[in-house]
């Protein structure tokens, strides 16, 4: 299997801001359907890596391929979203005044021009799609509830649902469980695990218990490089990791 069969293939990415090396020849592979957790102390380059993948930041050098044919470094932010990379930011951003259903409806793939949306009617296939996403994110009972009265956790799930509406092949999720109750964390873990397989999922997270509960593969970043990679037990017992991160 050549490296180009990976879902996401980052090679020797370097980004520096005013001399500070945010990414230093970072190389990372993500398999199709994999659930990968990225951990690391502050400033390790986690967010910068996500920014490079989604086109928000351009690297100084290196390559970033999405699948076999798509060179991410040549695409704009909206184009990257179009080819199937969805990003969930840390802070939930849903449309508070719209209902859960309307939030998902607006996230549907389709023509976004004024006139097209003015006369748009939901097809049965689209309704089914919304239906299945509601099922996945566990908000089926709240279809007609305005998003503003959802709990923090429910808003996060709704936003993940909005990403799912576009059926992305790769989901980037930034600190999904920050501020969640233990019950919500548990549900989020199940949600992310259920997404893996059909989608590749990359999760950046600080909460080590959460990472332990979901991850099969963990990547530890430090100073813009991959410090260690492997399953949770191996990573946790790596002396270098203990030194920079876990042991602290």
């Amino acid at each position: 299997m050549s490296t180009r069969d990976k879902r996401l293939y980052l090679e020797k990415l370097s980004v520096s801001f005013d001399g500070f090396k945010a990414l230093d020849e970072l190389t990372l592979l993500v398999e199709p359907g994999e659930l990968r957790c990225i951990i690391g102390p502050n400033g390790a380059g986690k967010t910068t890596m996500m920014d490079v993948i989604t086109g928000k930041t351009r690297p100084d050098s290196g390559t970033a391929w999405f699948g076999r044919h798509i060179d991410l470094l040549t695409l704009s932010e909206p184009e990257i979203a179009q080819v199937g990379i969805g990003r969930k930011f840390q802070k939930p951003s849903v449309f508070e005044q719209l209902t859960v259903f309307e939030n998902l409806e607006l996230a549907l793939a389709g023509n976004r021009s004024f006139l097209k949306t003015l006369f748009a009617r939901l097809t049965v296939a689209q309704l089914k799609r919304i239906d299945s996403v509601l099922e996945i994110i566990g908000l089926a009972e709240h279809v007609e509830v305005p998003a503003r009265i959802l709990s923090h956790g429910q808003k996060q799930w709704l936003e993940i649902g909005m990403l799912l509406m576009q059926d992305p092949e790769l989901l980037l999720v930034d600190e999904p469980v920050a501020g969640m109750t233990p019950q919500e964390i548990e549900r989020t873990a199940r949600l992310l695990q259920s997404l893996a397989g059909e989608h590749s999922v990359v999760v950046v997270e600080h909460d080590m218990d959460f990472v332990r509960s979901i991850a099969r593969q963990v990547t530890v970043l430090h100073e813009g490089r991959v410090l260690a990679e492997g399953d949770m037990d191996r990573v946790q017992n790596d002396p270098r990791v203990i030194e920079v991160y876990l042991g602290a």
Binding site: Q82, F114, L118, V124
Partner: protein, 366 residues
Amino acid sequence: MLLVGRPIKIVRSERASTWFLFVLAAVAVVVPVLNQAVPESSAFHISSYGLTLIGKYMCYAMLALAVDLIWGYCGILSLGHAAFFSLGGYAMGMYLMRQIGPRGVYGDPVLPDFMVFLNWKELPWFWYGFNHFSFALLMMLIAPALLALVFGWFAFRSRVTGVYFSIITQALTYALMLAFFRNDMGFGGNNGFTDFKDLLGFDLHSDATRVVLVVITAITLGAGYLACRAIVASRAGRVIRAIRDAESRTRFLGYPVESFKLWVFVFSAVLAGAAGALYVPQVGIINPSEFAPINSIEVVIWVAVGGRGTLFGAVAGAVLVNYAKTYLTGAFPEVWLYALGALFVLVTLFLPRGLAGILTGRDKAK
């Protein structure tokens, strides 16, 4: 299968809409009867003055709808909608001036009186075609649309939002007022247009014509209301509310936010223009003071009082505040402006969703 085959409740103000359209239809039927068939001696008779008042209120309601659509739903506080209203009014006024023909004081068959007075020898080019009603009708809608398109295109493309947008819309209407005050603009200077005789050959001073104008205004208001409701209830309407609540998030989802704003702004301007065009033949005058910045602000107050973000609220606010204005400026003329200001403050503090908020009880859900 949870959703398929199940009706989804999207428009919540459905019942209020039905009531409003019912009342509007009743006005269109009952007012003509009360004016034409009920004798003047009866307490139920509606005088010519009453007709004008009802027609005026309905024009204001249409203007309020226009402002509600752009402000209440799209979150863009336009303080310049009187400009679109006035442009529609001026286009109608130009037609009515041409209709006077040789019956003016100076008896010139082509030139309106004020041009003769200014010693002009021929009609300026921009007056051509206004002797045809169909052309004038088109201009009543196109002139406001064009202004909104050009202004909105620059403003939205430059990402002018919030209070900055409000301020430049005030500047826009103020600049137009100053321009229309000038005699050499060719729009009658500070006197504007008045002394209209007839519309499509019907005498504007007869009650029969006035009754028909009231009915036409009611129909146009109803159509405008239905159009607004169709927009609001469509997916585009949900995008518009999404823009109001989280503009950059909407852009991130891939919606061309600027284009949505522009469409809504232009539609809103056309609606305001139509209101102005119907207003002028009923009140019998149009002059530059219609462009006054305060007029645009007043419309915003009507909408705030009625309840922004609900279409029937905008209509109710326009009618109620203007009824109060008619009464108070008659009974206690010096009190009106204070009352209006106090009303706005009270509504902002205690009724953020306006009167419609009390009716639908949606405040509780917050």
